[in-house]
Symmetry: C2
């Protein structure tokens, strides 16, 4: 985008062939959504549908719509309840109804204004409405720097998270760092867990930077956040560019997620924030890695990092080990009778392993349960 | 496949780049489903889920499962109610549950055993389960020679047919002509409407053949059916190969569908069979084409063909013109305020038009309502 502001937004590109797209990160970008849409070639002849949730919509929907209107778009909106329960087929059906009632056609665009839940839900609407229409990601959480990039969209089934979905790349991602200022501290910490994860799988220097800047990040210093988000997105885009459809490399993004997803499933979605669940998962993976002989001395460092960001490093009381193991078996990463683990081999490096004995997993879970933070 | 039978199955290929796949048509192929799966490289390490409906399942599920088991596959199944109402999100959710309970993972395969409803439903399950797994089409109706080829899969929203879907190509299509013997006559006629449509859009010689062989086709003569299905599929594959994602040419496959889909929506899905609805639509399109000056003398021939196959050529009593027009506006083919019509320019040739005046459409609908067959 042209530099209308004092500060030029950061621009990254996600290279997925002919569907490549930009990520813009900067202060005040929400008010430039319409301009960015024009620049990206979003057609103005067909309605645009903004999908948001109650918390985000109250604060930001009006500005998003105003910016779209000012750029000549007809924009309708749907506000869904906040929280993971909106990633249901029932709410998905509501979204399709809203698209139909707004008169959305094949040239229409869905805008996801919100965090990961809204992005995943609205993205799957865009992926499947009329067999696929355009969409735009406008993430408003730190956590969503992960989910808004890479094209994985999904809703939940009562029996399994993210089991119904698609690969559907957005036209662009527009990240207004000012929207992050209203985030509750717990969500900030949860989001930073994914940021640190991107360092742990790919870039030891970025891990050092995260550790050195933990205070500023936790205090939501906007420039520090913008840099960290850009680095996190850069890791994600580098991985996605090499493996858009998760045939291999992309699996490394799931560091901490084998245990993390299972914890979320057992907790009842939403009780444990996603970043909290994967923080515990990353600690577990690091310990498994040491046991497997894959790495030395990553567990202590991983745990210290999580503590530094105020993230949990043990499983809260009351979780059943068998329920956690059972949830793992229902995860997409469970393939041909084996659970897939991403294990660190050093800080900034991981490998995908299919040979972690289930007994060792059980022991690690027991160990993580036995501790108090 | 190897020739184990007296008659070699017909083999066609659908050329969609790296996802190209074969269509096999012949007598007794259902019992060779397992063998065909092996040959197509379907992995045997993960469960296969067969989705069928009550009518088809009662007759053929056992044979399909037996063939899969004999070839070393673990096969589970789900039988859904027969009829269009199974293309709902509720039944879709049941299918995902069945896949989870069967332990389906990313290497699993969904088999669609049935007509167009089962193919569309099971295909969308395969397209979205874990963001896309393999699937196989085993069509058991004549109508499904159209829907099983080309990768368009979808379910319905209460407000619009096929509005939620994907492009997802099968691994192969296996057409056992023996399964067509149990089809009710009305379904035979409905299916032949799509076969004739394939001639009308692409191949005047095939239209002549259909007319000359109407008696044998209606009597379900197996060799005649096999030839007609292969020709119909060949037209479909030629069109799909040129335009997999419906950006242009593929729209010609919708001859008769603008009016046809609207009639189905107004009728309540299932009251009017799909082939019956598009038969009326094809007559309407031919008359519109003559009025638009696009063609001369196609309307009489089209109507005569439909009558020859025992298909309706007028709108049944009790349908509201405004309701039909309104349904058109909710169709996917309605784009930027204009309805898309496929109009014949001669027998075997069509063009896509965006400029048909709505008043002319209204008049044609009134005219089609005023007649008695």
């Amino acid at each position: 985008m042209e530099n209308k502001e004092a500060k030029q937004p950061v621009e990254l590109r996600v290279d997925v062939g002919e569907r490549s797209y930009p990520i813009w990160i900067g202060n005040g970008l929400l008010d430039r959504l319409g301009e960015a849409s024009r620049q990206a070639g979003i057609p103005a002849g067909s309605p645009v549908l903004v999908i948001t949730d109650e918390h985000v919509g109250r604060r930001f929907l009006h500005r998003a719509e105003q910016s779209l209107h000012a750029a000549g778009y007809r924009a309708a909106s749907l506000t869904v309840p906040s929280g993971e329960q909106s990633k249901s087929l029932a709410v998905f059906e509501d979204c399709v109804r809203a698209a139909l009632e707004a008169g959305c056609d094949r040239m229409s665009t869905i805008v996801a204004l919100g965090g990961g839940v809204v992005g995943d839900l609205a993205g799957f609407v865009a992926a499947s409405y009329m067999r696929g229409i355009r969409f735009i990601q406008v993430p408003t959480t730190i956590l969503a720097h992960d989910s808004s990039v890479g094209g994985k969209v999904a809703v939940n089934h009562p029996l399994a998270k993210n089991i119904i979905g698609a690969f559907h790349q957005p036209e662009f991602v527009l990240y207004d760092t000012a929207t992050l200022q209203s985030l509750p501290d717990r969500d900030v910490r949860s989001g930073l867990a994914e940021m640190v994860k991107h360092g742990l799988i790919w870039d030891a220097g970025f891990v050092d930077w995260c550790a050195a800047n933990a205070g500023k990040l936790l205090a939501k210093d906007e420039e520090t956040l913008a840099y960290g988000l850009a680095q996190g997105c850069a890791v994600k885009t580098a991985v996605v560019a090499q493996d858009e459809r998760e045939n291999g490399l992309r699996a490394i993004l799931n560091l901490g997620h084998t245990i993390g997803h299972a914890l979320e499933a057992v907790a009842g979605y939403g009780e444990l924030l996603h970043g909290e669940a994967i923080a515990i998962g990353m600690v577990g993976s690091a310990r498994l890695a040491e046991q497997m002989g894959a790495a030395a001395d990553v567990a202590v460092r991983t745990e210290a990092l999580m503590r530094q960001f105020g993230l949990p490093v043990s499983i809260p009381a009351g979780y059943s080990t068998e329920a956690i193991l059972d949830a793992m078996m229902h995860d997409k990463k469970f393939k041909e009778g084996r659970t897939v683990f991403v294990l660190p081999t050093a800080i900034g490096k991981v490998e995908v392993r299919h040979d972690v004995p289930i007994e060792w997993v059980r022991n690690i879970i027991e160990e993580l349960k036995g501790e108090t933070t």
